[in-house]
Symmetry: C2
Subunit: 248 residues, 2 copies
């Protein structure tokens, strides 16, 4: 199934997407809910980020092709992306003019459905609600020069996710494609992750409790593509969706 968060005439609601329609829900799909009976055309509504997480984490160095010769990490290497950097499908990525190089990183993002602490990898999928597309926008000069990656990875608008969350899929064998201005700049498969999704959840939840709605960006492959003002950037993931954002 496919879930989203929407706005129409200033009203925000959650819904289930079927083909080109959305069925309104009376509550977030992350909690107990039912259809209200209202059905809208997707073209009538604004698509919002499908979830407002308490926190977002992302994985560094989780695809061999992104390591540039470095040895693979001995354990998952998460970092935080803050929620004030969240935007949705079709929202603008604002590129700060004092960074010299900003890249788009195409990533599968998982959304937590059940509070997770000390989860074992064999049980990890029970704690996942679903999956969405994410763009881990990254200012490379700040990533190198700053003590932490706070503004490099979490400047306002640096975390596009969406358009929807899907469940009932196998997340471990999905093609990810990154496209800038119509040109394919990244291509990989989630089967190439160094640290699997279950191992990642086991490791993170040993230290940091994952809460309902929290998001984990699972890492990027190869060399990400540089983005500039005016560019259109797409993250497309097989069976998950196509996240489009323009840069300004």
């Amino acid at each position: 199934m496919k879930f989203g968060r929407f706005e129409i005439n200033g009203k925000i609601f959650y819904g289930i997407v079927e083909n080109d329609h959305v069925h309104e829900l009376d509550n977030s799909f992350l909690y107990e809910n039912k259809k209200t009976g209202v059905k809208l055309n997707l073209e009538q509504v604004k698509i919002l980020p499908p979830v407002i997480p308490n926190k977002m984490l992302a994985l560094a160095k989780n695809y061999s092709s992104h390591l540039q010769g470095e040895s693979p990490p001995r354990q998952p290497e998460p970092f935080f992306k803050t929620t004030s950097s969240l935007i949705g499908h079709n929202d603008k990525i604002n590129l700060p003019d004092d960074s010299e190089r900003i890249d788009a990183e195409s990533e599968l993002v998982l959304v937590i459905g059940k509070k997770a602490k000390n989860v074992q990898s064999k049980d990890a999928f029970e704690y996942i609600f679903g999956y969405t597309c994410g763009n881990d926008v990254s200012a490379r000069d700040w990533q190198k020069g700053d003590k932490s990656w706070w503004r490099a990875k979490s400047s306002d608008t640096f975390s596009p996710i969406g358009p929807f969350i899907v469940n009932e899929i196998n997340p471990e064998n999905l093609e990810i494609t990154g496209v800038i201005n119509g040109e394919i700049v990244q291509k990989c498969n989630t089967s190439e992750m160094i640290w699997s999704i279950p191992k990642t959840i086991e490791f993170i939840s040993k230290y940091v409790t994952l809460e309902v709605g929290d998001c984990i960006f699972t890492g990027t492959s190869g060399t990400a593509g540089q983005i500039k003002s005016g560019d259109e950037v797409i993250v497309e993931i097989e069976n998950v969706g196509k996240l489009i954002n323009n840069c300004s």
Copy 2:
């Protein structure tokens, strides 16, 4: 004035503290509110973290005495602490048994009162609601060995704040004392900060929007004290309060 968040018989409420009493408010003190008329003795209620922020930042290297010979940073050096690590006064700090060295860091924490984006330093104090005590609990081995400081600074229970938030004080000349098991291990004055509070808000808000309730830990001085299971750790700040936590 002095503000807090409390629990009594499972009910959570915000209040204004006067001497040993708390006056219940009908809403968070961060928003429009009024007294309900209910007045409780502080001993009757559980003190909760005074605020639930959307995000927390902390400053690395903001006191010369903590630099250990390194040159002072050319700009503020924030990092994120995640909100799932938040605890309040008298709550237990759980020390993970697979870290070899965990320290307590005594810090002044500021609480944002008004959404802040592109704030100039001369206006910065308008965006601050008040101040509280914070302990930036830090696992030193993970701080050195991991790519980011996610679990080093944000493992569950690693962010005690409280007991209350005070306003109407000058935050730029306050004695901070860190005490472990009755022994003073840290002593400094907020006047020794390398990057002032206004400059810090200007810099952060240029990139990352600060939201109502967000917290900024303003850095620690000298050499922080190691904490072990069974220890009592106190962060005391002149005119702000005394935050006490035990370690397990």
